[in-house]
Symmetry: C2
Subunit: 275 residues, 2 copies
């Protein structure tokens, strides 16, 4: 047995929560997933989901999660408080707050539901993208923080700075393979984080990055645990696009596909940008 | 002056809230917007938004709203409780609960933000749909309740029951013009409701309607008040689609366009269905 096998994955370290009371947990921000001015939002989403999954009354799997990024999360400790708002027959409704001191820095609502088989139908299909192994790994330039915790392989929409973009804006569609780095077997926690790994769309359409931040992120989990386990640690296909940038906000919608063409999650966000 | 001009619009009656304390309001379900087993979810979304807009500390316009339909809303009175979670420089974060007795029946999170002009860009365009006046008004069969409170003109995806749909499922894309009936000048409250007027997608793809209900609804408001006022009471173009029906849930995404081609809102939901 080697150290590599013994050591836990950095994502598991980042989302680790210590129970400190009924529906209350303590965690700590992770340097491994640091972003420019705070923790990577995807990790925060994963922590908020983990707190629900760790709650002793939780039944079933995540169906929907909305995360509202209320305030900057400071480096260091935080508490996560989970409340079961409604315990229904087919769904449970949860409210989650991340607090630092007196401040609520993040809120989330989560719906969990029993795993069950039903009639199924898939009107949407994944786009025809070359297999991951045929696309080059994106060079993140050895940057510290969250960008180094994922392996990206872009078919289109790789982040590139360019001049004069505001004069000739581009489309916002991106298609890329993505997996945790180092590889990690997919579960709902990592999937929640991966839904926020799309590079800010204003870079793609305009060529630069003004001050920017996700305001609210909603993910619908369209797969069961078995489908995530089947995916294992192989790359997922992510497709994302934006429809409009106006009045200081833009939308973004994304699909996450398994490598055998099943839709695992759809995820939407609204992003604030400056000027 | 006629009675028609004096009487208030049924939507305004349905969303009327009486202040009963700090951030607390009382309202009443509306027969005019009744659905089969409870109030129309769009009206509930509009009420949750109205409570935020009525809060004395609210600044700016709605940016994002997520509504979680936790439990059946019974006919009669309800209370709506609004809490300002975070009052930031560029956004305010709100939590909203609708209660009947001790039960929380609906929760919502809402983000409001200052109106401001910025760089803008619109990668998405509305689909080429014939003008509203060139499409027939959908016959709602004089049905009571919310379906009669909207005028629908379908280009595709009109609700039709058909046999054997499960054997030959259809696509889920719909495109239709829609406006309040009687006509009403567009505002954020009516827009929030209109985002939930798309007929349940399982009917469109399968030809029947099993027990079904929206679990969570997220709307991003991409326009300012001036754009809504410009739209006036003319029909809006709604485009909606679903990607997957699996494990008893399906997603739905919708765009609401002004009749001069501006994206006013994007709206997503996850829907529970039986068997």
């Amino acid at each position: 047995m080697t150290d590599t096998l013994i050591a836990s994955h950095p994502l598991d370290d980042a989302v680790r929560l210590e129970p400190i009371g009924e529906g209350a947990f303590r965690g700590r921000t992770s340097a491994a997933y640091w972003n420019m001015a705070g923790p990577f939002g995807g990790t925060t989403a994963a922590i908020m989901l983990k707190a629900v999954l760790d709650h002793p009354q939780r039944r079933g799997r995540p169906i929907a999660q909305t995360v509202n990024f209320c305030a900057a999360v400071a480096e260091g400790e935080f508490e996560v408080h989970v409340r079961l708002v409604r315990d229904g027959r087919s769904t449970q409704h949860w409210q989650v707050e991340m607090r630092q001191g007196e401040a609520v820095v993040t809120t989330a609502s989560t719906v969990t539901g029993a795993e069950r088989e039903t009639w199924s139908h898939a009107p949407a299909a994944p786009p025809p993208v070359a297999p991951a192994q045929d696309l080059a790994v994106f060079d993140t330039g050895g940057r510290a923080g969250w960008r180094g915790r994922y392996e990206f392989r872009y078919e289109r929409g790789a982040p590139v700075f360019f001049e004069g973009g505001a004069e000739a804006p581009q489309g916002a569609l991106s298609r890329n393979w993505i997996r945790d780095e180092p590889p990690r077997t997919l579960d709902f926690v990592s999937l929640a984080a991966i839904c926020d790994t799309f590079v800010v769309k204003i870079l793609q359409v305009r060529g630069d990055i003004p001050p920017v931040g996700t305001v609210s992120l909603t993910t619908y989990f369209m797969a069961d645990e078995a489908a995530l386990a089947r995916q294992g640690n192989r790359p997922l296909l992510g497709v994302s696009d934006s429809r409009a940038f106006r009045h200081g906000f833009n939308d973004q919608s994304a699909e996450i596909w398994s490598d055998d063409g099943q839709l695992l999650a759809v995820s939407h966000q609204v992003v604030w940008f400056k000027g």
